[in-house]
Symmetry: C2
Subunit: 234 residues, 2 copies
DNA sequence: GCTCCGCTTTTGACTATACAAATAGATATA
DNA sequence: TATATCTATTTGTATAGTCAAAAGCGGAGC
């Protein structure tokens, strides 16, 4: 274990155990230098890493202090369905239910903050995991941002995965909510009308332009999000 | 802007824009040293930061490469309700509906991975935002982990907030799912039986011991989680 | 062909040092 | 008293080097 890792985990342990509480002062760099008999650079690296994770705050002249916990900043892995299913060892397939090229309506345009006449590809897709409908995906792809979508049939690759290959990195906004299944959704997902469903809405951008907007609706009895947050992970 | 920040954002921009795609090789350190006319430490710091964020992977001898995007690693702020409401400028109050000290049942004990006879404080709490019921909180607090909960009435501070002061840093696991309101829940939340509700389950540990287990149920029409993810944030 | 050995490249960790920026607190000045 | 200035402390960034560990590659030997 490297010195800088030792410093990092030592301090982290003191914070997590409650030994050092929010607002408490952390020894200044030269004290840690003396304690660990290393150079200031090494101490600085450890403290900077702790600061970047939000466990401490650092201020010139005054020193470093244990931060107030950020109530619960949780990292959740929200994956595309096929990858998720594969990782969990389930069999996944999908069907394209609808595919058409249209122009954005007024209301949608406002929702997406995009011009009302923008050309889009509108997709509807059913995901089936282990033989049961697991999600219905309603997607809008902006054709000026991803012109190659015009020729793609999505017969062999799910839209989410395909887009990831086209647009590798992006900004994204997520909304998770609970909704009741309407008649159409219930029929497609083979569940009851009014059944509680978990809905994930995601809008992604690249270079400030909307790439895609998608709502994925899961039946509540067959899907949940789970995530673990732990400060320890160096 | 510091040199190391410039290197960081330059490379990040190339990745986000899609200019450099997953699997592409990033210039080795000495090339970047030449390009930016700086020391190897500075380059290394920038690349390490990129690696820590999962944007690149580094391997000795072979070099650094653009990572495959982690589909959607999203940071969601899951806060305690009173803080959340205050931040959004809403009026928040709460009522303790039930408070009793018991021992864990067999089924619960298994679910929490705790001994079946452990003494717990069981709380039920209604959160009211802007005059409307916004969430029902069903909580178990392990009394051996937080003995001071035995004397706390929670009359003036919500249990979540109180616990945060007692146990400042912890590991937590979250599950988000959609459930239908049962009769009791519907009555308390002043909604219809069967209404879709968003349920957040959180189990918190400190030093390997369960501190608390809580399920917070929100009416689907009055609550959602939202979070933005963007790789750019140095 | 195959295996082992050593060479080379690249990242990883670290040192010792330097100067700059921020700023709390003390001191001097109006 | 209020304000401006100085000083000491602490962090932030950067340099120029060292040594080490990992791992790809080619060649020697079988």
């Amino acid at each position: 274990m490297s010195i800088y890792q030792r410093i990092f985990t030592d301090i982290e342990t003191k914070i997590i155990s409650g030994d050092w509480r929010p607002g408490d002062r952390i020894p200044v760099e030269h004290e840690l230098v003396a304690e660990y008999r290393c150079s200031r650079m090494t101490v600085s690296k450890a403290l900077s890493a702790l600061a970047e994770r939000g466990m401490i705050v650092r201020r010139r002249k005054t020193g470093s202090f244990v931060a107030s916990p950020q109530i619960d900043r949780t990292v959740m892995d929200i994956q595309d369905i096929s990858t998720e299913a594969e990782l969990a060892g389930h069999e996944h397939r999908f069907e394209i239910l609808a595919r058409k090229i249209e122009r954005l309506g007024e209301a949608e345009a406002q929702q997406l903050s995009e011009p009302a006449d923008a050309e889009v590809l509108r997709l509807q897709c059913l995901h089936i995991v282990d033989g049961r409908p697991n999600a219905i995906e309603r997607r809008i792809i902006m054709l000026d941002a991803v012109p190659r979508a015009r020729e793609e049939s999505f017969a062999s690759i799910p839209p989410g995965k395909w887009l990831l290959e086209q647009v590798p990195w992006s900004k994204a906004k997520h909304v998770i909510r609970a909704v009741s299944a309407d008649t159409v959704t219930a029929r497609i997902l083979q569940t009851e009308r009014g059944e509680a469903c978990l809905s994930l809405i995601r809008q992604t951008w690249q270079n400030g332009r909307t790439v895609t907007y998608v709502e994925i609706t899961h039946p509540g009895d067959r899907f949940q999000f789970a995530g673990t947050f732990h400060p320890t992970a160096i």
